[in-house]
Symmetry: none
Subunit: 247 residues, 2 copies
């Protein structure tokens, strides 16, 4: 079976040159699925061509997405690269560990997507919330800035290195694609809204991130997602039924 | 004893920009000895500054040499990077293997130097002749061109990785003790019972196991457990409040 390489997802990239350099780094390491979320200068961008140095097959199949959730929709495994892990309730792995995780999952037919943030600012807390696992490159703590294409290069390098055909142990658990998890998050938020849970407006964005994070990290299976939606429905409707039946 | 990092030796580099980007890659991975052999535009070169992105300590200590032999003069271990090993009677290693060899030798006080060729043409047979070992990065055979700074980056990355076999970043997430998770499970079950969720008695034990599993596997933190209990409370009580307030 063909192993599917992870999708490389550039979130709000600014310079076409950097998109081209990222495509070249992908070509070097046999990655070919490039996705852009809200590229600043639109797409296609002629400035990406020359720095891609012949990685035309990568540029020609780029897909553009309106949101991080959209770019991750078909991915069961979701990663984001950050320079330094902030205090986040997520596992943090090296590019090498991520490559091993992705390859093992890909052997079972699962898809992975890896987010890379904009050049200067990096990914926001909202971008990171729905992601299961953080990738941080071990770099000199006194001088930590990797540029966008370099970060793609290191992740690609470890992906290519990991192509060791040793058999991975069978995975008993099949995570749902992110689209189904996003549906679960939206369902819970709608019911909580209805129940008056978001009563302190200042804290609402942080609370929503926490919820997105808690529901994304566990890699729930499609069946578990259905069970959780049933639980939410029961909790939200059950007492109503009771209230209707009350004298 | 301090381990001495290998000297990075750029042979006849053409663009100041690439020298700067190589310096930046060195800074990322704690390499600080940069040597130039016959740089095309002389040295210092103001075009190297901006792309170095703050790796000034690397640029300020550059030494310039008239020949490859001169740049390698103090090195007991000599390496050269090539895209594809030609037919040469030399051992060929990966960046990772080179890093291990250099670190082992450095622990004995030996010095190493690594040659990188000019941007377009690469190293000549004459450049390679005096070198002991060839480093070749494993890249996609259908698309093999790494640029100069990328080659330095990969070699630096493996050097830095080899410094600490346990270079895995610290885990930021602290799972709650099981007692708290058990309290969460009991709370959810009680509310679901109340809501009439367990309406098929035969399936109840299996459903309870599924719920326990889903809430245990994610290793929720104590704070996340509290948030989830708040969510359960809100879902279970919210509509009641609404029902009470209804006309």
């Amino acid at each position: 079976m063909d192993i599917e390489a992870p999708a490389i997802i550039l979130v709000r990239p600014q310079l076409g040159m950097n998109i081209g350099m990222a495509a070249r780094a992908m070509g070097n390491f046999a990655l070919d699925r490039l996705r852009l979320v809200e590229p600043r200068d639109g797409w296609p961008n002629p400035e990406a061509g020359p720095p891609a140095s012949g990685a035309d097959h990568v540029l020609e199949t780029v897909t553009v997405h309106g949101s991080v959730a959209g770019a991750l929709a078909d991915c069961q495994l979701t990663f984001a690269t950050t320079v330094r892990p902030r205090d986040m309730a997520k596992p943090v792995v090296t590019p090498k560990q991520a490559a091993a995780l992705i390859r093992e999952a890909a052997a079972q037919g699962l898809k992975a997507g890896i987010l890379f943030g904009p050049e200067r600012s990096g990914l926001t807390a909202d971008d990171l919330a729905p992601v299961q696992t953080i990738i941080t490159c071990p770099v000199n703590p006194g001088f930590g800035s990797l540029n966008l294409a370099q970060a793609v290069l290191l992740v690609g390098y470890e992906w290519f290195q990991s192509s060791d055909p040793e058999a991975a142990p069978a995975r008993t658990h099949q995570p749902a694609p992110h689209g189904e998890v996003a549906g679960l998050i939206a369902h819970l938020e709608a019911e909580l809204e209805e129940a008056g849970y978001f009563h302190v407006p200042d804290r609402t964005p942080a609370t929503r991130r926490t919820l997105a994070q808690m529901l994304s990290r566990p890699q729930f299976s499609a069946e578990e997602v259905r069970t959780l939606r049933g639980v939410i429905r029961a909790l939200a409707e059950g007492p109503k039924r009771k209230a209707r039946g009350a004298p």
